[in-house]
Symmetry: D2
């Protein structure tokens, strides 16, 4: 089968690799029809992770089931499915509480596995023609009959839509809340979109890329352009000086200013400054255990200069981490199926698998208009 | 009336000041019978806050109502009451959600007021013969008829018992959980005690003072002496390498090692290292907006080198801040009244008001056996 | 002042009564500009309650503050306010937990007080030129500067919008849920509207009045006309035989079929039949402690033939009762102010106070098109 | 293998049946070492259910794993395990939310399966030498090395301890709460015990059997003997007329008075009368969809004369149904392992499998001292 293979910093190619196949009785084999490039793939692409050469990339996949193992009971050949980025067993202590992002079975010694990702286990990714899905009954989300017509909407269910939603869940966004979202990349936009779906009264989205801020406005949010002044001041102006009820950090450790200089603590501390007393924060932008190449000395060992004084004085709460996709993907699928959500507004490019190297290059450059790429093998 | 007055770093005296009195129709006047010295009073005592000379100290008070304003409906003269350390209006946006620690009315421009505390409004403290309680119907907790017999138990309801409980609430401690508590001062011991009351299966308490660790063991917790090796390693040993389900930070920014050197991030990061993936943390040890006298350069502006990488990778949640005492004091009172809780195990010294200067000195030295002082004016 | 006065079954008149005035230092006096007739007023109107002759009716009021008592700190003369139907002290055990509908202070011997309502205390109602608001700082919701332009929207905040929202809160409606709402009166429509605001994927509204079902469709719900077959069957058809995730009972004990015969248990049991296993129900339609005039013998002593077998087998949850308006009115106000909610779509008639008797008559007849009446004194 | 087989009302025998064996790749085979008779088995024993002759009974089993299917990854031969009474797939919509009592896979057309129980699927029970456990990785709870020493404690984890705990969870019992428990059978005693573990300040247990009331007192609860007057009056006396914060219904549809007459609604309505306004109720006593043999005409079709008027006026919440054992069994196991819980205080009789017919007889008679029987095959 053909697949997108990582070879080193800024080097990916599309090449022939051995076919994915059923290896365990609980496996499901999926013929991939749509698979996205994720912002988190760029951390690997830029050589900022421990990804090894030869890895097949991709963790956002939709397709058709072509084979099932003998212990698979729920999923049938021919089902159209969306595959969450996390690989979960369904029965460990964390999975049974719905914390499938922290599965204790699928990546021994760690908590949590994923397809085609550095440090997340030996699994090959979905930017390929075929994908082996372990514990297929647990990990496949069945799609409705009209799946093919809205495949780009359903493709968002593998990662970015649940991840954006997770930010709002960690922050406890409720109807009527005002919400500040830092970062208008795909995850930030999905957080803003989720906040709107949950009935927020005002959603403020901070970024410095005009194309992304325009998308934020398109979904009913207020764009806050941080090239035009301190975003926290702008947020305070929009909220009579009180700050927002809730905040979402959707940038992570490679946060940088509009000149491109990295400041790992900057967006996180800005969220703390933006949220009102007794508020709450969801943080889904990635922070890593160490980054030897970071320009910031604390960040090299995974630390940031966090504004704990203000965090404590305001009595805030924060939840962080990867999303347990299964916690949300059914309900978000139902919203898509009912026509109440169309997350594919994000998608800027539909390309063939062979165009992946070029797509990585442009997406990594945050080239104007490259918000989200879907590859169709 | 006589009262404990702050004059500057390590200078307090007991002196005559004008009587507290009814000033507003919603006020209640309490004759104080028990009033404690709090660990947070020591931040002022050591000159590490903005406290002004002349301030009457004390925010943990129990006593008898001697006068009420004309708009007071619930509280009657003669009632025995415990007064929460936070002063709340009961009707602002935060109070109406139970977040009385972040009252928007009683300390204009800030969120939250307290008696006799730096930065918490102009209110005089309770280490005095009389205490004016604003919004008395909101702020007085009525005690049962046997209050005098168990006054030291009920005195713990003004701050330390609810504050320790708050740590366990922020951490979401549930029956069967294992819990790591950093700090065996009064608040840490109350957090451990609260975790036991909530049905924790194992509570590990970290400190380096033998007298406090002994108290931890007395209430059924496991003492972890950090003089005997990395406390995180010891906690991992107790939990088959998994870490605890929940963690409580009960030390704050003046965290120091057993030689007395301050490391503001140390206990917080140790909690992050001690808690298992998908766990949660309550942080009630105080962090301030700035501390110009801190030996740590980040802490001077309120920041700490927080291990955000591990926090994110583990998918943790943390809540911080002062306790809204009213959220818990009724239920904790009911536990005392039913004989199911005796938080006064903490109290090491019952003294007269005039002995306050001496008590401050010894308590500040963490002199052996000085865990909690109650003054009886 | 002029006011709507109850005299007996189907007898109300508009007449001169003594002016409302400040009686306690915590009172606020409001000049009423909008005041609605509520479906629950009809229970009194029809003589099905213990309401005494001479009672001034009305518990849904918006107006301008014209005088405040000396202990009022937050509310100022000139403020535009909406007054929740429940009268709360703000400091009792129930109020401090946000359960203001069950205030233990304002209606001694009962839990909960209201304006102008049978069994809810001695308070005069708001269908009048002036309204005395006890504990004004607690009970007045301040409205934004544009309040006059959207007064009908804000008038819905006194009762029906929070009450409909409460049904969805008790049922735990989450994004993506399917929801069955029984009853398309004002409260049912507000429940459906709230479910949509909370991100439901499908809302099914059951009734047998065409005008009301049309309003349900207007807000994006699916109308289920129970004249056209068993509504439960229709709901199962819409949900592939599974039933909805959540259900709302918005009818109450005077539930009747399309021929007008009362069956007190019918809608409640239909909700139980409509909701899927492990689902949840919010019940805000009123049930009374006894109704000597009920055609149903059980209901005469407040009982209904509840389908406990199915309730248990499905593992359902239900919450019932009056709404603590203050739990929701700020967030719903913010949605109106932001233009994200326009609950006034309900309002069918804007009338003068003197037209009240006529309005009661037509509203009680459920005359076609009479969904909600706002009186403007 | 030998097993307890149901033949009809009050007819069970121990006989040879075909060995249980691995049938599906995800199965686990357990050699049963302890297996209890449950109060719910008595509903079948008395002929009040649809149980068919030939059914092997028993759904509370502990034992040793003797064989595993080829798709079992977590459970190993030799593991000591406790098997929850519900049989769950782990991957359906309900299981993935932790609602394993309402599994949609294991009992097609219903929600929820169990071993050896009427209407809960074709599974043979555990009152036998061997038990086939479907989806073994999902359904087996591993026990610690000391399991054999405390086997009676761990045997309580299969049903009664989690079921009693579930009542307190549905009721939302929190530290400091007062709790009324109706029924001092095994489940009621476990509810009372769970309430104590969760930090209740006062637990009142209602029954009319002296031996059971004595056990309630032994665990720190207050016994309320309903032979000595209306139990609701007694509860009100204990709570200054206010009622308890929370209530648990642990009797079910065969509720009867001390003379043995059945009144299906009586305990449920007594709970409603006993709980204070804005309180909550957990109902784990079984109610069935129909009972043609019931003396109560409503109950024949699954209905009870529920006091909806008081339920609504008090603004109560109630949750009902079977327990999803997996939601609690890990945490309760950890409490047993830590020595913080000893639920085996319940067990009155340890018998051999062959003594089952006699044990059924006495347990069904509620013979004095027969609180809980454990069979050791």
């Amino acid at each position: 089968m053909r697949a997108v293979v990582y070879h080193g910093a800024r080097e990916v190619s599309v090449e022939e690799v051995p076919d994915a196949r059923i290896e365990r009785p609980t496996d499901v084999l999926v013929k991939v029809t749509s698979t996205c490039i994720c912002g988190s793939d760029l951390h690997m692409y830029e050589g900022r992770t421990s990804a090894e050469a030869g890895k097949v990339l991709g963790h956002e996949s939709v397709g058709e089931v072509v084979e099932i193992g003998p212990a698979v009971d729920r999923i049938k050949v021919g089902d159209r499915v969306c595959v969450p980025f996390n690989i979960a067993c369904g029965f460990c202590r964390n999975c049974e509480r719905g914390e499938t992002a922290y599965c204790l079975t699928t990546n021994p010694g760690q908590a949590g596995a994923a397809y085609g990702y550095a440090g997340m286990g030996p699994y090959r990714g979905g930017q390929a023609e075929l994908l082996r899905v372990p514990y297929g009954d647990v990990n496949c989300l069945r799609l409705p009959p009209d799946a093919a017509d809205r495949e780009n909407d359903y493709a968002m269910l593998a990662d970015v839509f649940p991840t954006g939603y997770h930010a709002t869940e960690l922050a406890g966004v409720q109807p009527g809340d005002s919400v500040a979202v830092f970062g208008a990349g795909p995850v930030g936009l999905m957080a803003a979109y989720s906040a709107m779906l949950r009935g927020a009264s005002m959603v403020l989205v901070v970024d410095h890329q005009s194309d992304r801020l325009r998308l934020a406005e398109k979904i009913g949010a207020i764009a806050v352009d941080d090239r035009q002044g301190d975003p926290v001041d702008q947020i305070l102006d929009h909220t009579r000086g009180m700050g927002t009820d809730k905040g979402c950090e959707c940038v992570g450790w490679q946060a940088h200013d509009s000149e491109g200089h990295e400041h790992p603590a900057s967006t996180m501390n800005n969220v703390v400054r933006s949220v009102r007393a007794a508020g709450a924060i969801g943080a889904v932008g990635v922070f890593v255990l160490s980054d030897p190449r970071s320009p910031d000395t604390l960040m090299r060992k995974g630390e940031v200069a966090f504004d704990m004084g203000m965090f404590f004085q305001k009595g805030l709460r924060i939840g962080a981490g990867q999303t347990s996709v299964k916690a949300y993907n059914r309900r978000l699928r139902d919203l898509i199926a009912a026509g109440r959500a169309q997350p594919s507004f994000l998608v800027s490019h539909n390309l063939g698998l062979d165009e992946a190297p070029d797509a990585y290059l442009h997406f990594d450059e945050r080239a104007d208009g490259w918000t989200k790429v879907v590859l169709h093998p």
